[in-house]
Structures are given as structure tokens and as C-alpha cells.
């Protein structure tokens, strides 16, 4: 497979997952601000933006819900906003139009085409619900109608790396500020994990259990450990003739983060959650770089300049 194609597939996976996770995260935050009369809107929004690595433009005294929505949800030009990620996913799909199935392409294209019409003032929940639904359609097509060949592996790899990264960010929102941040219930809900969690632990709710669930539950696919394990499996699938003496760079990063989740006691993570989550995000980022270097090498861009003698 061409490296260029593989890279696009990888990024389709990442962008769709990014749109999905960001929509979930924002939905919970916005709903929380609406329902809880004592939420401190400015602080909560700033905290959220910092987790998403967004800087508040200088000179903004107060940041509100509307700003967060405008920047992180509706901004079509930024690849880290929901609308932008959907656009970028479609843009990447256009580049691999000959590789992916018509069904998959049409799903992404429809999503992109309908996106502007779905953004309506005052109805963020409808938009987020729609985004979740579209990404579920995408995931369904990928799951049910795609050969488990390289195409699938690259896409699933992108998805799992992004998922681990976004779940880590989500946990950071909680860890940052006890009050202004969302409760564990909201956090679980934003991952769609609330009901799974309740069933697993029969309704006993403690910070420890909830954090443990999102960090290292082996069966829930959105937990960081599960996402990382999936990434490992994809990497293993891509690298069929593994070098017996050394480990692939990307697998080292992912595996290290996963193993530390699997084998270190939960307490160590909870002691400094923001830092631990930063490490997870950095591992995802490093793995992504390693994947790029290995599978998508791009020639140095040579730019010719006219002779200036």
C-alpha cells in the first residue's frame, strides 16, 4: 500500500474518533453547566480549554459556554474541533477514495455535507447527538464491511491512539479541579461508560472505582488500557515479521504506557493524575510520530530557488 494512502487511512481513524470524543466531552460539559446552577462557568470553560490545549485569546476577561462551543465544536477551520475534524476526515477520505468502500466514503461525505446545517444556535445537544450517531455509522461500516487487511489496521490504529489520547484528556478535566470540573458520573457518561460502569460495580460509586474503570478496565473499549491494547494489536498486525531482537518504536511507546496501566497499582496513578495523563498523551503522540516515520516516510520537500548569482 502506498504510504500516502496509509497515512490518510490512519488520519481518517483519528479524525472520526476525535470528533466523536470531543462531542461527547463537550456535550457533558454543556449539559452540566445548564443543569447545575452552581457551576462556575468561566473557570470550568478555561479548565476545559486548557485540557484541549487551546489557549484563551488574550484580552478575554470571561470565557463562556458559547466561546467553548464556537472554538472546540463549530470551528470548521481547526482540525481539533468537532466540525473541523469531520471535514478533515472527509478530506482524507477523498484522497483514498479508490481504496475505501463506496459505503464508507458516502457516510463520511454525507456527514461532512450535513454538518453546517446541524449547527444551530442554542441546540448543541442535538449537534453532538448527531455527531455521535454519524461516527457510530462510520464505526459500524468499518466493523462490518471492511477486510481486516492493512486498510483496516491503519484506520483502527488511528482510532485507538486517538481514543487513548482523548480519554486521558477527559480524565484530566476531572483531576484538575474538584468542584468546577465534572463529577465522575458526568465523566463516565461522556464516554458512554456510565451504565456499563454501574452494571460492573452494582451502583457503588467511588472516585477510585470510576477512575480505575476509565483508566484500566479490560473489557470496556473506551478505557485507556483497552484502547492502547487495541493499538498494540493493530501494530502487531501491521508488522507481521517482527524483528526478534528489538521492538518497533511505536509498539514500545504504546506497550510501555499500556503495561504501566496494567501492572502499576491504581493508587500511583491517582496520586498525580494530571501528570500521569500527560504521560499517556505524550506516549500517544510519540507512537503517532513513530508510525509516521516508519510507515509514512515523506521525501524532504525540496524547493528550488532561482539562481541568484
Amino acid at each position: 500500500m502506498l504510504s500516502r494512502i496509509a497515512e490518510s487511512l490512519f488520519w481518517i481513524g483519528r479524525y472520526v474518533e476525535r470528533a466523536d470524543d470531543t462531542a461527547r466531552l463537550l456535550d457533558v460539559h454543556v449539559q452540566l453547566l445548564l443543569e447545575d446552577p452552581w457551576a462556575e462557568e468561566d473557570a470550568a470553560c478555561r479548565s476545559l480549554l486548557s485540557v484541549m490545549a487551546r489557549e484563551v485569546p488574550p484580552g478575554r476577561p470571561v470565557v463562556g459556554r458559547e466561546d467553548v462551543l464556537a472554538w472546540v465544536a463549530y470551528d470548521g477551520t481547526s482540525q481539533s474541533s468537532v466540525a473541523g475534524a469531520l471535514g478533515a476526515a472527509r478530506e482524507n477520505a477523498r484522497r483514498v477514495r479508490e481504496i475505501i468502500s463506496t459505503e464508507l466514503w458516502e457516510s463520511l461525505n454525507t456527514t461532512w455535507a450535513q454538518c453546517p446545517a446541524r449547527i444551530r444556535d442554542g441546540r448543541p445537544h442535538d449537534f453532538f447527538a448527531w455527531v455521535r450517531e454519524r461516527s457510530a455509522v462510520h464505526a459500524g461500516i468499518v466493523d462490518s464491511a471492511m477486510s481486516r487487511d492493512e486498510t483496516w489496521h491503519f484506520m483502527a490504529l488511528g482510532r485507538s491512539i486517538e481514543r487513548a489520547d482523548m480519554t486521558a484528556r477527559l480524565l484530566t478535566t476531572r483531576a484538575l479541579a474538584g468542584v468546577t470540573g465534572p463529577s465522575w458520573v458526568d465523566l463516565l457518561r461522556s464516554c458512554g461508560a456510565y451504565e456499563a460502569f454501574l452494571r460492573t460495580y452494582r451502583g457503588s460509586m467511588s472516585d477510585r472505582l470510576a477512575a480505575g474503570f476509565l483508566l484500566m478496565d479490560r473489557l470496556f473499549p473506551r478505557s485507556i488500557a483497552a484502547a492502547l491494547r487495541q493499538a498494540e494489536e493493530c501494530l502487531a498486525g501491521l508488522d507481521s515479521v517482527a524483528d526478534r531482537g528489538s521492538q518497533d518504536e511505536a509498539r514500545r511507546h504504546v506497550g510501555h504506557a499500556r503495561a504501566s496501566l496494567d501492572y502499576r497499582p491504581l493508587g500511583e496513578f491517582l496520586d498525580d493524575l494530571p501528570h500521569e495523563m500527560e504521560l499517556v498523551q505524550r506516549a500517544c503522540s510519540a507512537a503517532s510520530d513513530a508510525v509516521r516515520l516508519r510507515y509514512f516516510p515523506s521525501a524532504l520537500v525540496t524547493s528550488w530557488v532561482g539562481e541568484a548569482l
Binding site: E35, W38, A53, H125, A177, R199, E278
Partner: protein, 524 residues
């Protein structure tokens, strides 16, 4: 442009939004102004999206064997903080008194001996179960969940209409209405400080866990439902889901070795607390109706042995018997040594000397209710009844005076409600829900407001064509902080610790160039 409130009749009955002179009451100011800014079309669009939100969630109730969407009105009901601070303690007080009464009735019966309640009233109640005598709940709680129906009469006085301490339903609609309303009116939620209700399932679970038999670590709680054809099945699933406990039917349970178990794929599993939504009569075919398929044989024996807790306790019906209701103010004074905070509605006990004659005389102007009814069944509203109905009722009253009570027709307060003709006043009542965990009574802020949709109709039950409203208790209380933020904790990620969200390959530069090439190539 036509105002939504055009033609809204004011001053006829006590309306909660508009005063007698048409002025807007304080609590409703914000809701009124935002409604007044809307056109009818806008409001109807919101109403439709509200209904759609309910349909998506599957918020339904079963009516005559058919699954119907639960109607919710687009105009919320608002309760000012000061009013709620009167109502909530009143409800809690009432629950405490009923709890004490039940403990007494199924125990030493001191209130009977002291002459507060006549023995014959207690023992003649159809829900007084001798089988429950001597069953002592582990933490002393029998009324884990209660719904005290209250109304606001024509003089702006909150009064208790009836007590429900058996299996009160409706709380799921409170939770569902709130979520759908928050999605439909985000701007109002942003502007008003509405006390949240989402905490209810947690409170309930905590109360159920607290009620577990002594010495059980991590008790297993289950919700016992009659099955999917029950009118409140939606509620059973919602509560079980939000508490994260198993929803069981009678056939999933069995008793062995003096304990209750459920059948699971992992073998049998012990059950410690049964939050049952099955009526007493169906709970245990050994003790009650032998033909019941809904219960579990032996359940009562286990409860008696103290190996399982049934919530709410069996035999609670004696406390919400409508004749006992007339004694509740006395019970509050007797057990709690307090004056009742919420008054009763004046009620004739037909067995009192002279009462039956007076009631029979004035039948066309009174409301007559069966003492053990619920869901608005059997209620006869005098002014609305035909002569034949009244005649029939007369003979029934004479035959069984213990079985009925009579009350004056109360003008329930009204709240604007969206109907065919626009916004019109419709009568409402309120069912606040209270959860007793043994140490305190938690009253859910708000509750289920039921609204009678036909004009002038005073019976508000959903089985009688009623709708509901989301009830907003405004939060004037000081912010409640569960975990005060420790001073050292940062609020945002430090700049150097923030991991940027990676952008994809720089595609746009290439894109520009490709387009240039196209343009350049076009003339060829």
C-alpha cells in the same frame, strides 16, 4: 403579533404565574418574559422537540395495554425557594410521622391504646396485613420511598391531598422531564438557578443499601418489577439502570435455605434488598394471592427471618388509607410532638355521627373517594356527576361508609399550559418524592407536577388523560460544595504540560498547488 398570553383568563382561580390583576408573580418572571418573547409557532416547535426528546428516550407509560409517550407540557412549573423551604420540611415531617405510625401499628400499637386512632379504623383497612406484624425492618425504615401528593388551593395554601407510601411511581418522569427540558430550554436553565434532581437514584440506592440486613457487606439490591406490561415499567428500568442494580421479575428469584436468591449465568446469587414495585397482594403466593405469578414464594418468610429487606415494607397501605389520612395531623402531634407544617384537606369521615347524613345531603357539591383507591380510580366529583351516578354513589356510601371519604371540591391552582387554543390555565397538583435512609428524609427538590389537560378538569392522573410538567425549584440556597477545592490544586493544565492535539499531515499546501495546476492547465 399575537401575544401567547392573549385571551388568558386571569382572576378566576389562583393561577401560579399570573396574579388576580394579571401581574406576573416573582418566581415566574423569567419564564414569563421568555415565553412572552416567543411566537406561538416558536413555542409549538419547542413543544414538539420536547416531545421528540421524550420519544427518543422511550419515556412512555402503559395505558390500557398500549405504550404511549408520556405527555409533558412545554411550560414549566416554578416553585420559589421560600415556598419549597416550607413544603419540603412539611413532607419530611409527614413521612416521619407515618413511619412512626407504621412501626407502632405493626408493633406495640400504643397509638391505638392511647386513643389517637380507633382500633377498628386500623384493623378494617384493607391494606392492614397481619402477616406483617412482627416483621422488623433492619434499620427501622418501612417507608423507604414515598410520594406525598400536595396541592395548592384557592387561598394559596399548600395542602396534603393524599399519602402514597406503598409503591409511589412517577419519579422517573421527573428525571426524564428534567433532561428533556434542559435540552429544550437551555437559555432558561442558564438564567435560572434550578435545583438539580439527577441525584435521586444515588440517594435511593444509598437508602436501600442502608436498609440491608445487619452484617451484610456490600448488599445486593434488586428492583422487582411485575414485567414489561406494567404501566410503570419505564420507571423500573430507569431506576435499575441508574442505580446499576439488577431488574428482576418474580420468576428470576427463588428462596432456598432461608434466603432469597436470583438465578444468574454464574449460578445463584444472594439478594439482600428487594426494592419491589409489585403490590403486597402479589408479592408472595404462600402468604397472599396464591395465583400470583409476579412474586416469589417464601419471600415473606425470609423477610420475617431478617435475611432480606423488602422496600417498601409490606403492609404500608394502612398508612395511606384515606381514612387514616384524616388522622395524620393527630399522629404528627402524637409521635413527633410537633404541629403539622402542611395542613390536610377538610375531610368527612362517614362513620362519624351525623357525617354520613350531611354528606348524602350535599353530595352534588362534594368529591367522594374510595379509601384504598389510587390512580384516580373510583373518584366521583359531585358537580360533574350525573344524577344517576349520584344515586348509585348514595347507595354505595350507605352500604359501606368505612370505604369512602368526602371532601369539598377544591379549586386546585392553575399553571399556563399549551393546548389547542394557545396558553390556557390548567389545574395542577404536585407529588414530591421523599427517600428515607433511616437517619434523615431526603425530599427531591420539585417532584412530579401533574396537569389535567381538559378544561376545568380537576383529576390529574395520567391514567385519566393528564399530562405533566417539569417542576423547577429555584435555588436560593447557598452553593453546596461536595469536595471543597483544595487551594493547591491547579485549575488548568500548565502551558508546558499541555500536549497539543496533533494536526494531520499538512494537506492544505498541497491542495492549493493542485488547484493552481488545474487552473493553469484549463486553457489547454
Amino acid at each position: 403579533m399575537a401575544d401567547l398570553f392573549d385571551g388568558y383568563p386571569v382572576g378566576r382561580v389562583w393561577d401560579e404565574m399570573l396574579g388576580l390583576d394579571g401581574s406576573v408573580r416573582d418566581a415566574y418572571e423569567r419564564v414569563h418574559s421568555s415565553l412572552a418573547q416567543m411566537t406561538e409557532g416558536e413555542l409549538r416547535a419547542r413543544a414538539e422537540s420536547l416531545l421528540n426528546a421524550h420519544l427518543t428516550k422511550g419515556v412512555t407509560f402503559d395505558f390500557a395495554g398500549e405504550e404511549r409517550p408520556f405527555p409533558v407540557d412545554v411550560v414549566p412549573r416554578v416553585v420559589a425557594a421560600a415556598e419549597w423551604d416550607h413544603v419540603a420540611p412539611g413532607v419530611a415531617q409527614r413521612v416521619a410521622a407515618l413511619e412512626a405510625f407504621l412501626a407502632d401499628v405493626y408493633g406495640p400499637q400504643e397509638c391505638v391504646r392511647d386513643g389517637v386512632v380507633p382500633r377498628r379504623v386500623v384493623v378494617s383497612s384493607s391494606h392492614f396485613h397481619r402477616e406483617a406484624q412482627g416483621v422488623t425492618p433492619p434499620n427501622g425504615v418501612r417507608v423507604h420511598v414515598s410520594g406525598i401528593d400536595i396541592i395548592r388551593d384557592g387561598d394559596d395554601t399548600w395542602r396534603v391531598l393524599e399519602d402514597n407510601v406503598r409503591v409511589p411511581s412517577g419519579v422517573s418522569y421527573v428525571l426524564a422531564n428534567r433532561r428533556s427540558m434542559a435540552q429544550t430550554f437551555p437559555e432558561l436553565f442558564a438564567a435560572l438557578r434550578i435545583r438539580p434532581v439527577a441525584d435521586y437514584p444515588r440517594q435511593l440506592l444509598a437508602a436501600l443499601v442502608a436498609a440491608a440486613p445487619a452484617g451484610v457487606d456490600e448488599p445486593t439490591v434488586v428492583v422487582l418489577t411485575p414485567g414489561i406490561y406494567n404501566s410503570a415499567y419505564f420507571e423500573h428500568t430507569l431506576l435499575a439502570r441508574q442505580m446499576g442494580v439488577e431488574l428482576v421479575e418474580g420468576r428470576d428469584l427463588f428462596c432456598a435455605g432461608g434466603r432469597v436468591w436470583m438465578r444468574t449465568t454464574q449460578g445463584r446469587r444472594r439478594v439482600d434488598v428487594v426494592y419491589r414495585r409489585v403490590d403486597d397482594e402479589f408479592l408472595d403466593p404462600v402468604i397472599f394471592r396464591p395465583d400470583s405469578q409476579l412474586g416469589c414464594p417464601g419471600l415473606m418468610t425470609c423477610a420475617r427471618n431478617g435475611t432480606v429487606t423488602i422496600a417498601n415494607a409490606v403492609g404500608n397501605g394502612v398508612a395511606d388509607d384515606k381514612l387514616i389520612y384524616t388522622y395524620v395531623p393527630d399522629l404528627i402531634r402524637y409521635f413527633l410532638h410537633e404541629e403539622p407544617i402542611l395542613a390536610n384537606v377538610d375531610t368527612w369521615r362517614l362513620e362519624d355521627p351525623g357525617a354520613l347524613e350531611e354528606v348524602l345531603d350535599r353530595l352534588p357539591e362534594l368529591v367522594v373517594k374510595p379509601v384504598d383507591g389510587s390512580g384516580g380510580k373510583g373518584i366521583v366529583v359531585g358537580p360533574a356527576a350525573s344524577a344517576r351516578e349520584l344515586d348509585e354513589l348514595r347507595s354505595r356510601l350507605q352500604a359501606d361508609p368505612r370505604g369512602w371519604i368526602a371532601q369539598p371540591v377544591i379549586q386546585l391552582s392553575t399553571v399556563p399550559t399549551l393546548v389547542e387554543a394557545g396558553l390556557r390555565p390548567r389545574h395542577v397538583d404536585l407529588r414530591p418524592f421523599a427517600v428515607n435512609d433511616g437517619s434523615s428524609v431526603f425530599v427531591l427538590p420539585g417532584g412530579l407536577t401533574r396537569v389535567a389537560l381538559p378544561e376545568g378538569q380537576l383529576v390529574v392522573n395520567s391514567s385519566q388523560g393528564g399530562g405533566s410538567k417539569d417542576t423547577w425549584v429555584l435555588g436560593a440556597a447557598a452553593p453546596r460544595r461536595e469536595h471543597p477545592r483544595s487551594a493547591g490544586l491547579p485549575l488548568t493544565v500548565a502551558k508546558d504540560a499541555a500536549v497539543p492535539i496533533e494536526p494531520g499531515p499538512d494537506a492544505f499546501a498541497v491542495q492549493n498547488m493542485q488547484m493552481q495546476q488545474q487552473q493553469a492547465g484549463a486553457p489547454c
